[in-house]
Point group: C2
């Protein structure tokens, strides 16, 4: 049987948003605050540097008994025996990822429409990252929270797998997602840019009880 | 038993040197001229686009019964069931690649010193790409052909696996490599930028008999 994963507070370590020299200390303090899952997202590293970063991150997340997910790069995930891979719509198709990762590893897929969510589910995704829920520093397009909630609700109705909201979620706006019945929130800057990531994680985690 | 690979004329499809719109026609004409191995090298494509390009390249090389090697991205190699992976010194370590690819797939490693060659061999590499033998359009540093031949000879003496020379090799200079006892030449622009890649491949292949 697959371990029941806890998606409540899912940290994504986008190196574009956080100086890499602080990466491990920032993640560790967030883990101390209760982060339940970590996704390593590196878009600019060569394969060797990504592998070395992932190895180090794996030993950190292992110490906190938190699963490590690798963004996009299935080879890096296999190389460090990560818990799984998260792919976007421009990455390897989820069906290919599932075939290569085997049935035991976690496969996550980014979806922003019901159609994408249904394909991901049929392709064997274990969970979905749905968003952007709010405007983000990288995607500043006006996002209407009513539309976001409608999207979360429609996807939740269409597919039976766990779902985390992603995109600009912070302590200031997470209450807008209360009652949406999502399984957790994926955050980047709310923790990676926090001055006190431990305290920020503790407060966010407490909020996830009301989702 | 492993298929005995023919390294004589090893085409590397560097998309920085050849417009991608001509990629498949250029490679197909080179295959018609006798290319014995193809390495797909894509440094700027996202994973989905790389996968789709690799799938298409695999169906092309399969038609000519020529093995397809993927540069760097082990996940793409697995996804399209390529014959193997070629890694440089900034990619995944050869030992990791060997472990993940299994014993049957081909693992190639770029080496430019005896030390790198010995490590690659000990890590399970099947063959080496050694260079740069001549100055290239991307690496214009003065390369002395006497030093290159000394390097090829030293590496050949140190490790017992096949070796191809790479870096600026063309019809105009391949004769400098005659008698070095290398197993083949890897070429990029000599075929990817050729006006008549079929004829260029035929001439280069004939030259490889004198290596």
């Amino acid at each position: 049987m697959r371990i029941p994963y806890n998606y409540a507070l899912y940290l994504v370590t986008d190196s574009e948003l956080c100086p890499r020299e602080n990466l491990f200390s920032q993640v560790e303090r967030a883990l101390q605050g209760g982060v339940t899952m970590v996704q390593l997202r590196e878009k600019d590293l060569g394969s060797l540097a990504f592998y070395q970063t992932a190895l180090k991150m794996k030993s950190l997340t292992d110490r906190y008994h938190v699963p490590l997910i690798i963004n996009d790069r299935l080879d890096i995930a296999l190389a460090v025996d990560a818990a799984g891979v998260h792919v976007g719509q421009s990455d390897l198709p989820a069906a290919v990822v599932r075939r290569l990762m085997g049935p035991e590893k976690l496969v996550g897929v980014s979806a922003s429409t019901v159609a994408e969510a249904v394909i991901a589910y049929n392709d064997g995704a274990d969970y979905l990252g749905v968003g952007a829920v709010f405007p983000t520093s990288t995607k500043k397009d006006a996002v209407n929270i009513k539309d976001s909630i409608a999207m979360l609700t429609a996807i939740h109705a269409a597919v039976p797998i766990p779902m985390v909201g992603i995109g600009g979620i912070s302590e200031k706006n997470i209450d807008k997602l209360y009652g949406t019945d999502i399984d957790g929130v994926a955050v980047v800057s709310a923790l990676m840019c926090a001055k006190d990531p431990r305290a920020a994680a503790e407060r966010l985690l407490a909020c996830t009880n009301s989702l």
